[in-house]
């Protein structure tokens, strides 16, 4: 019971991590809710083996990403495409904000990355070093660097394409 209270308190403090992963991997509200629930349950199951060797946040990232990558959806909802309609309105009184438009294009491009690339981007955005990302993914830091370069190029091209379309 003490362990459960401790876990609930830790998860409450770090729930932003789980929300970020859910927002990154799921584009529908219902799917995000399902994934949040699944991550919470998987984290609780794995918590018994958490010995505090790593920071709780790092450990939670690993559990959340593992769960998101292997998450199984019973029924297929709409295809996983990030619609710009879900993002906040970016038209100001002076007309469309170019920075907001670029951000929106980048967000859409990230939403179309593969599950593995999304995990790497997620950890990169959280300022984890390549070495740490490699340890979480189970690959070398060099491999992470190569993948990250590839992802950055892909995101640049894709977001520019979306900007042109807009």
């Amino acid at each position: 019971m003490m362990a459960q209270q401790e876990f609930v308190s830790l998860l409450k403090t770090h729930q932003n991590i789980v929300h970020k992963v859910c927002n990154l991997y799921m584009d529908q509200h219902k799917d995000r809710e399902d994934l949040f629930q699944e991550i919470t349950l998987q984290a609780w199951k794995a918590y018994q083996s958490f010995r505090g060797d790593a920071k709780f946040s790092t450990w939670l990232y690993r559990v959340a990403l593992n769960t998101a990558i292997t998450f199984y959806r019973k029924e297929k909802r709409s295809p996983s495409i990030y619609t710009t309609d879900e993002l906040p309105e970016m038209v100001s009184q002076d007309g469309p904000d170019p920075i907001e438009a670029q951000l929106k294009a980048m967000y859409t491009a990230i939403g179309e990355l593969s599950k593995i690339d999304k995990a790497i981007v997620m950890l990169y955005l959280e300022d984890y070093a390549y070495q740490e990302i490699g340890e979480m993914m189970g690959i070398t830091a060099n491999n992470v660097a190569v993948k990250m370069n590839r992802i950055k190029t892909k995101l640049k091209e894709q977001s520019q394409k979306y900007m042109e379309q807009a």
Partner: protein
């Protein structure tokens, strides 16, 4: 336009669009059931193990109680095979329970999922397919060797034996047709089971393998 240019904004964006959960909300979530694929397999294994044991009690009973000698041998051998199958299911369940923790590296986690589902599909297909010819061929053989027992002769007399009412040519045609029908049945059953397993687990397994290949490249 670069990813680094928007690092802070993207982080903020990802962290928004949600309602913060309270302690009570999280506690409530902990009472719910998990819906992971591994749990789906675990539930399926539990069901098959319990169902298999119950059915096998019937087989064991028949092995001791059946009137015809061939039926006793048939159910006896079949219950032994069923127990072997059940032990294999228990082995798979133990393996499934070992990978329930999601705090491994992403590569290790993917690998354990792939190995488990791959083995589950492979062995399930092998054992299911092995049971069909064993059952049919063994049943045919025992029926033939038991052909001179009193119980079989009585069955002939009561009119259950189709072959007894045919001449030589008709009987050959009947047997050939029957063998062809069985062969097609086994062939169809093989492909149906393969298709069904692919439908249940195949697409998910391909998705995981694709992630693994991507991670390794």
């Amino acid at each position: 336009m670069d990813l680094d240019q928007f690092k802070t904004e993207l982080k903020t964006k990802l962290a928004t669009d949600h309602i913060n959960r309270s302690d009570a909300d999280i506690e409530q979530l902990l009472k719910k059931k998990t819906g992971s694929f591994i749990d789906k397999i675990r539930k399926s294994l539990w069901f098959e193990i319990i169902f298999g044991f119950l059915v096998n009690f019937g087989f064991v009973y028949a092995a001791f109680d059946a009137g015809m000698h061939s039926m006793r041998i048939y159910f006896g051998v079949f219950s032994v095979l069923m127990y072997l199958f059940l032990f294999f299911l228990i082995y798979l369940l133990i393996r499934t329970n070992k990978i329930k923790s999601a705090d491994q590296t992403i590569k290790e986690n993917l690998n354990s999922y792939i190995l488990l589902i791959d083995e589950f599909i492979k062995r399930y297909l092998q054992l299911t397919m092995a049971l069909i010819p064993i059952t049919l061929i063994f049943a045919g053989y025992l029926g033939y060797s038991d052909g001179h027992s009193d119980a079989t002769i009585n069955a002939y007399k009561s009119g259950y034996n189709i072959g007894a009412k045919m001449n030589g040519t008709q009987f050959t045609i009947f047997i050939s047709g029957f063998i062809l029908f069985l062969s097609l049945g086994i062939y169809g059953m093989y492909h149906f089971t393969k298709w069904y397993l692919k439908k249940l687990y195949g697409n998910y397994l391909s998705e995981l393998k694709h992630c693994m290949i991507e991670l390794q490249n």
